[in-house]
């Protein structure tokens, strides 16, 4: 009994010494809203619809309304309704109604595209192709952020950014409409071993999705390619801190 007590006391003192060491160490807490959180490069957050930032199509939306993302989506949380670029209103094509018609909220989704009529009037070019996304909605309540939409997209229009603080007060406001998806994401994060750009490219997934990788490579971004090459050489595993 005495031996037990001495050993027990010794262990308790050792435990207390250990905790005391931690007492004097720096807290690891991240004061989140004030300080950015550290995330891994492959983190997938909120979607963003991109525009062309340079070249002949500068300023146009990348999305051509093909709805491949909606077709590929496992949870079917994407809704795309295509509109026709440059469709002359007088031809009487079913999709050539002035966009202001949709803008007034008469669309079948119950959710107005939220785009004022003047921007989307017939005859104006919104995307480089024949068609553009008249309505583009993602139900973030159903979305599981798998990133398949990104893989499916032939023009690299939709990407998953690293913005993750998506809490809101109503279900309806979590159905993201086109205008909100076009807004650049502002992730409040620090990406581990990245180029310092929180919106920078994600390294590709480990499993071979040839199409997705081809699409990935087709994007003229040398940084992306470098990441991919490094990954192929097997030097770019995700590292823990």
């Amino acid at each position: 009994m005495v031996r037990e007590a001495v050993i027990g006391l010794w262990h308790i003192l050792r435990a207390m010494g250990l905790t005391l060491r931690y007492f004097f160490s720096k807290p690891v807490t991240v004061q989140y809203p004030e300080q950015p959180v550290h995330i891994y490069p492959r983190f997938r957050g909120r979607h963003e619809l991109l525009r062309y930032e340079e070249g002949p199509h500068k300023g146009l939306e990348r999305c051509i309304g093909c709805a491949l993302c909606a077709a590929y989506c496992p949870t079917q949380c994407i809704y795309v309704q295509a509109g026709e670029n440059n469709a002359p209103a007088e031809v009487g094509h079913p999709l050539s109604l002035p966009a202001s018609t949709y803008g007034a909220g008469t669309g079948g989704t119950g959710q107005a595209p939220g785009r004022p009529g003047k921007e989307g009037t017939a005859g104006q070019q919104r995307s480089p192709g024949e068609r553009y996304a008249e309505v583009y909605e993602i139900n973030l309540l159903r979305c599981m952020f798998c990133g398949y939409c990104e893989e499916a997209c032939p023009t690299g229009a939709i990407v998953l950014r690293r913005e993750f603080a998506l809490a809101d007060y109503s279900r309806k406001s979590l159905i993201y409409t086109q205008d909100r998806l076009l807004e650049p994401a502002k992730p409040h994060v620090i990406v581990r071993d990245d180029q310092g750009d929180a919106n920078g490219p994600r390294p590709p997934v480990a499993y071979p999705v040839a199409q997705a990788q081809a699409a990935y490579l087709s994007v003229p971004d040398t940084a992306k390619k470098a990441v991919l090459r490094r990954h192929r050489r097997g030097k770019d595993g995700v590292q823990g801190k």
């Binding site: 009994m1 308790i12 207390m16 250990l18 905790t19 931690y22 007492f23 807290p27 004061q31």
Partner: protein
Amino acid sequence: MDWVGDFWIPVVKAVLVVLALLIAGAYMTWGERKICARFQVRIGPNRAGPFGILQPLADAVKAIFKEEIIPSHVDKVIYVMAPGIFFAAVLLTFAVIPLGPEVSLFGRVVGLWIGDVNAGLLYLMAIAGLGSYGVVLGGWSSNNKYSLLGALRAAAQMISYELPMGIALLAVVLIVGSLNVRQIVDFQAGWPLIALQPIGFLLFLIAIIAENNRSPFDLAESENELISGFMTEYGGIKFALYFIAEYTAMVVNSAIVATVFLGGWKWPAVLSNLHPLLGVVLFLLKVLVVLFLYVWIRASVPRVRYDKFMKFCWKFMVPLALVNLAVTAVVVAVMAA
């Protein structure tokens, strides 16, 4: 009858002490959360005011405005009374603790204590024992199996720790030759009793942690298996009363340890003789050290299993306390001869 000296001064002192204890208990919750957080490499509360110092106020406001729920199956009178009994016992305990020497205030000589009781140590033990009634009655009146188990544990725990606690104090009484707390403090002008009674100090510390239902002896309210034990059915301000009483009890028990074993306000006499206020500061510092020890132990040691605790109390602490008492008695007798 001297109304000022015999009535008003004690009343004012009592009110001041109660207020100070309430604030100390409230801030002990903050202190524990802060210190515990640092032990776990966290920051702890820091949103309400600088360093979160308004956190106890925010918690109090929240608890007060919570809906007052009395479950239909409880024994209402005792259910409502139990937190009060607990809290009252905790507050009463402090009455005989001297904070400092006699000082002259406004032309009167005022002692920095509420009651100068001859059998002060006995009073401490008696009132500290009453605190368990709050726990036991609360658990029993809740009419809930978890609460009842918590109360049963508290009762069994009480009879286990009170014995070594009393015997450890008896050794102190033998050395000092008095039950008066002030005389115990005065005795420690040269050396604190922890130097003469290291084993007694350890036993008393363990017992007092058990009395406080503190980790590693928080068997009565173990969150994991008894979902807070005797407090399961309590909510709102009644829960807050239990909670704050527990933390006030920590402060009071630390004060007892500081007084009986760490020399109270007296030791080291070189410092406390300079100015009476310095003695008070010394006392408060010692209380803070013991309080830190409380949190430190909580952050380091997991909860003891129930039967192991009983075994530890009865088969180790009680015999050790008895041996300690016997050795002390022999030494005191030899020294006196």
